[in-house]
C-alpha cells in the first residue's frame, strides 16, 4: 500500500515537473508546478513528517498563486504559444546541469537508512526547538537576508514607478 502511494506520488511529481518545462502556456505551467509541489507534500506525509507537508502546501499554494499573477500580468494570451528562449540558454543549461550534478553527488554521498522501521519520527516541537534554540543565529541570518531582498525589491519597484 505504501509502495503504491509512493509510485503514485512520484509519478505526480515527475509528470508535473515535465509539464512545467514542456508546456508553452505559462498558466498551465504554473498549474503543473503546483501539481508537482503537492506530490512532494504527499511524499512528506509518506515520510511521517506532516508538519513539512502542511508547510509545503501552505507556502507553495500562495507562491504559485503569486506566480500565476505574474504570468497573467507579464504575458498576453495570444503570445502564450510563442517560443520563449533568449540568448542566455547555454548559461541556463550549464547552471541546470551543475545543479543536477550537485544533487546526484549529494544523493550518492549520503548514507540512506535502508530499513524503514529504523527511521526516527521527529515531532514538530523538536523542529521548532532546533530552529529557534540550537540554530537560532543561522535562522536569524536567513530571515535578515530575506528581509533585505524584500526591501530591495520594493525599492527597485518604487524607483521604476517614479521615473515614469
Amino acid at each position: 500500500m505504501t509502495l503504491l502511494f509512493f509510485y503514485v506520488m512520484a509519478g505526480t511529481i515527475l509528470a508535473g515537473a515535465l509539464g512545467v518545462v514542456l508546456v508553452r502556456n505559462t498558466v498551465y505551467a504554473a498549474l503543473f508546478l503546483i501539481m508537482s509541489l503537492l506530490g512532494v507534500a504527499g511524499l512528506y506525509i509518506l515520510l511521517s513528517s506532516e508538519f513539512l507537508a502542511l508547510v509545503q502546501v501552505l507556502v507553495y499554494g500562495g507562491a504559485v498563486m503569486v506566480l500565476l499573477v505574474f504570468a497573467l500580468m507579464l504575458t498576453r494570451v495570444h503570445e502564450l504559444d510563442k517560443k520563449m528562449s533568449g540568448d542566455q540558454w547555454p548559461l541556463g543549461a550549464v547552471a541546470a546541469l551543475a545543479l543536477l550534478g550537485a544533487f546526484i553527488g549529494m544523493w550518492t554521498q549520503t548514507d540512506w537508512p535502508r530499513d524503514p522501521d529504523q527511521v526516527t519520527l521527529v515531532p514538530f516541537a523538536t523542529i521548532g526547538d532546533a530552529l529557534f534554540n540550537r540554530w537560532s543565529v543561522p535562522f536569524e541570518i536567513v530571515s535578515l537576508v530575506l528581509l533585505v531582498a524584500l526591501a530591495g525589491a520594493i525599492i527597485i519597484a518604487m524607483q521604476e514607478e517614479g521615473e515614469r
Partner: protein, 386 residues
Amino acid sequence: MMRAVILAAPSVDALDNPALSALLGLIVITLIMTLGVMFATWYERKAVARMQQRLGPMRVGPWGLLQPIADTLKLVSKEGVRPASADRIAWDLSLAAIFVPAFLVLVAIPFTADWFVSPMDLSLLYILAVGGLSFIGFLLAGWGSDNKYALLGGMRAAAQLISYEIPMILSMLAVVMVVGSADVYRIILYQDVVPLIVWQPLAFIIFLTATIAELERQPFDIPTGESEVAGGVFIEYSGIRWSLFQLTGYVNMYAYSLLGAFVFLGGWEWPFGTDIGWGYQLLLTMVKMALFIVFFLWVRTSFPRLRVDQLMSYAWKVLLPFALAQIFLNGLVLVYDLPDVVLLATSGGGALALCWLVYSVVRVKPRQPLRMVGNVPATAPGSVSG
C-alpha cells in the same frame, strides 16, 4: 481520552478499512453541509430582510421555508453556458480547485468530543493550509472566463486572499503559542475554564476581520462587488456551476465560523465540560457557530463596501503590525513565565488600541463651517476620510 474515528452511523465504525470509513465520513459531511447551506441561504435572506425592515421570501412554503428547494431545482435545471472563447481546462478546473479544498477542510474539524472524520496532531495548520489552496481557483476562474471583469475580480481575489491570510495565520499562531499545541482538539480542551477570547481579544478581532475578508463577504466583497466588477470571477458561470461556487462560499462560512467557535469561544468544552454528552456538545457548537454567522450578516447590512486600496493597506499597515506585536508580547509572557493575566492586559490593550485606531480613521468628522472666498468655498467641504 477517547479519540477514535467515529462517524454518523455506529455501523460505519465497525469498518476496518480506514480509506473506506474516511470516504463514508466525507460523503456524510458533504450531504449534511449541502443541506445546511440550503438552509443558510434562506436564513441569510430572512435575516438581512429583517434588518432592512422587509419580509424576505414568503411565498414558497410557510415563511418561505421551501424557497431554497425551489431555488436549487431552478439552478440545477438551468442551462450551463460556457463562453466560446473561454479556456476550457481552466474554466472547469477552477470549480474543482475552489470546491474540493473547502470540503477537505471539514475533515479536520471535531464537531463534538468524539465525532469527527480524522484526528490530526496539526489540525489547525491543516485547516489553514488546505483552505488556502482554493485561492488558485478564483484566479483560474477569472483568467479562464476570458472576460475583463472576471479577470479584474480574479486579480482582486488573489491580492485580497493572500493579504488577509497572513494576519489570520498570525492571529492563530498567537493562540497556538498560548496553548502550546496546533491541534484544534487540544485548543478546545485548553479552554475548559476560560475561553481564549478572554486571554487573546486582539487575536480574536484580527481573526474576525480576516475571516470576513477571506470569505469575501460584505464589506470586504471587493472581488465580487456588483457595482464595480459585476460579480467578479463568477460573471460567466451559470446554472449548476454558479450554484457550486455559491455552495462553496457558504461551506467556507460554516468552516471558518466553526474554527472561530472552537479556537476562541471554547467550542463544546466551555462552559459545561466534556462530560455532558454529544447531543449537548453538538448543540453548543452549533449555537457558537451561529453567533459568528449572525455577526457576519449583521456586518453585511451595517457597513458599506471598502475601496481596494483601503482594504489592502488595512491588512498590511494595521492588522499585520498588531498581529506581530501580539506574537512578540505572547513570547515575552511565555519566556518569563508571567501569569495569564498579563496576556489579557497586553492583548486587551492591543485590542483597544486597534479599535481606537479604526474609529479615529472612519468616524465622521464634524462639519466645518464653509469659509467663503468671494463666491466659492475656500476649501472643499469637510469630507469623510476613509
